[in-house]
């Protein structure tokens, strides 16, 4: 029995010692925090381990290094609303200075955003917004309008402003894809009267096989078709392959919203000249920069020059949206420059 109690006492003493050291260091940190400690800027992606968010992480790290902040990138291995809430709670407990999130489900994250705000943390969204929340700012990649317009402008340039064009999208219910299509139609109708969008096809879940079938059908239905647009990123490979299979490389222009890694083989083989997206790395960079400004209490100007970003960053004080800039046009010259 004596031995047992000794073990107990040892453990208890150990715990006590630990808690004392923890408390004391904690206190000293607390007092010196404002003067010389690095600002803690956190970002919660929708999930980790995919190239897109890894690119944002890399951009965030770069900005943190440049501006002398600490960047915390914390996400779950699966896209889950519960995990986001849980991670956000942990970050609030860590007392980070600014906290950003790419929102998966606004209804479950809104109370947590309110909680972070109540705890005195600057909360903002990046990459995906919850407009109904108490977030202070939304760091947006590009406007839907700019994405739709730019795609049609680039396609029209390739086709000299005329010809039949088919669109292959993802799910018919996907809000973002439908908005882009709406702006594409608007641009084509107002600026390129000879560019005719003949048909919009949808694919289940944006699957590559389905996209290929739809593209083949469109090509046989409209033999004089000049361009194909793959709206969902996942539909890009299917559409490009369909054109390759039909030996129409150079006769039918393929364009879409595909990431550099996705479109690289097709740009190399020549079936695609360009792809439209935004720079995920720059988005991560801007997210951390914005967090530092918020944590320092600096107000955004209508046009901000962010050291390290080539384009000026616009801020709309009405909607509180900080805009990365115009969409990125990916072509054979820059396709190798991005890690996503």
């Amino acid at each position: 029995m004596r031995k047992m109690s000794k073990v107990f006492i040892l453990i208890m003493a150990l715990c006590l010692a630990l808690s004392l050291t923890a408390c004391s260091t904690g206190n000293s940190n607390g007092s010196s925090h404002s003067s010389n400690q690095k600002l803690k800027i956190a970002f919660i992606p929708q999930l980790i381990g995919i190239p897109y968010f890894t690119a944002m992480q890399n951009g965030g790290n770069e900005a943190a290094k440049k501006f002398g902040a600490q960047f915390i990138y914390s996400g779950a291995t699966q896209a889950s609303a519960q995990k986001q809430v849980q991670i956000m709670d942990s970050l609030i407990r860590q007392k980070v200075d600014a906290l950003s999130i790419s929102v998966l489900d606004s209804s479950s994250i809104n109370p947590e955003i309110a909680k972070a705000k109540a705890a005195g943390i600057k909360v903002y969204t990046a990459d995906s917004d919850s407009a109904t929340s108490e977030r202070s700012t939304y760091v947006a990649q590009a406007t839907d309008k700019a994405l739709g317009y730019t795609l049609i402008d680039r396609l029209a340039k390739q086709l000299n402003g005329k010809g039949q064009v088919g669109i292959i999208s993802g799910e018919s219910t996907a809000t973002n894809l439908n908005t882009w299509i709406k702006y594409m139609k608007e641009r084509a109708a107002s600026k390129y009267p000879n560019l005719k969008i003949v048909e919009v096809r949808y694919t289940s879940g944006g699957s590559s096989e389905d996209a290929m079938n739809q593209a083949q059908e469109l090509m046989s239905k409209y033999p004089s078709m000049k361009g194909l647009v793959a709206v969902a990123s996942s539909a890009v490979p299917g559409v490009a392959q369909a054109v390759q299979k039909a030996n129409k490389v150079g006769k039918i222009a393929v364009i879409g919203y595909g990431s550099p890694k996705t479109v690289k083989p097709f740009i190399k083989s020549g079936v695609m000249k360009e792809s439209i997206l935004w720079n995920a790395k720059d988005l991560g960079y801007l997210t951390v920069w914005a967090g530092i400004q918020l944590a320092k209490g600096n107000k955004f100007k209508a046009v901000n020059h962010v050291p390290g970003l080539s384009n000026p960053v616009k801020y709309d004080s009405k909607t509180k949206v900080l805009l990365l800039g115009p969409p990125l046009v990916i072509n054979k010259d820059n396709v190798n420059n991005y890690g996503f």
Partner: protein
Amino acid sequence: MKTIWAIADKRGFMLTLLLIITIAIMSFLNQDFLSIDNLVGITQFGAVLSLLAIGQSLVILSGRGAIDLSVGAMLSLSGVFLGVLFQAGMNIWVASLLAILFGGLLGLINGVLVNFCHIHSLIATLGTQYLFSSIALYLTSGTPVSGFPSSFGVIGQGMIIGIPIQVVLVAVPVYIIMWFMVYRTRAGREIYLLGTNDIAAKFSGIQVNKIRTLIFTLSGLLSGIGAVVTCSWLMTARADAGTGMEMESITVAVLGGIIVSGGKGHLGSVMLSVLIVTVLNSGLQIANIDSVWELAILGILLILAIVFNNILVTKKIAYGGNVTFKDKGE
């Protein structure tokens, strides 16, 4: 030395030790971790898991290799059921009560399939897991139900003197009731007897199938309660709310010393292991350790706990204790 081994042999002691070590390591990793506020605050992430783990443990305890793989799906579907009732205009609290009962009904379906249609629980609950999740997805068509009144958020987000309400008013009372039922009533003793010796239980006049069916129903009821807490916590009813929770509940039960062949293990130890897993997860998150490693560390912990246990049991034999090899390995 003999006495230490004898004490440490008790799962509860080992788990307490493990909990203290976990908290100590987490405090080293992050200096802000060890505060009462933090430690109490993070218990909210274990409340729902503890409900499911109690149900799971009872199912496993009842023997015949029983397991309930549908607890997560029952949680999802009961939550969605709550959401649908609310959307149809029902009062949120009435809807919550019905959702709990609905969970019980789902559990009853499992119980009947296993005990009266004689389908092995692994297969029966695997089947219902798919079925329940599909229905949940169908009912919401992928869009989560939200818009609950803010008063409903009290269960999942409220605090009483700094302790999360879902712990004080849900998880702890449920545990006390279950503890009383299992360790202070005849029905409870029968569950253990079922697990250790099915045939003896039958001959001593226990209605084996009926009790087992009731246990599955209970597991469903607990999932239903978990669903209400989850809905209140997220203020949303999601068809994927319980995804993966069946495995978490099994992990926690096994770490807590519930023996997979049934009849052995204590609910108190299961609660300790819920605490360990919760502290571990939150601690790793607060220390900003890549969540890729969370699962790996949990896996290592599970294996280590069992290896440690086996060593202790072997030592005890070496010192002349009357432990048989049957007790090893769980």
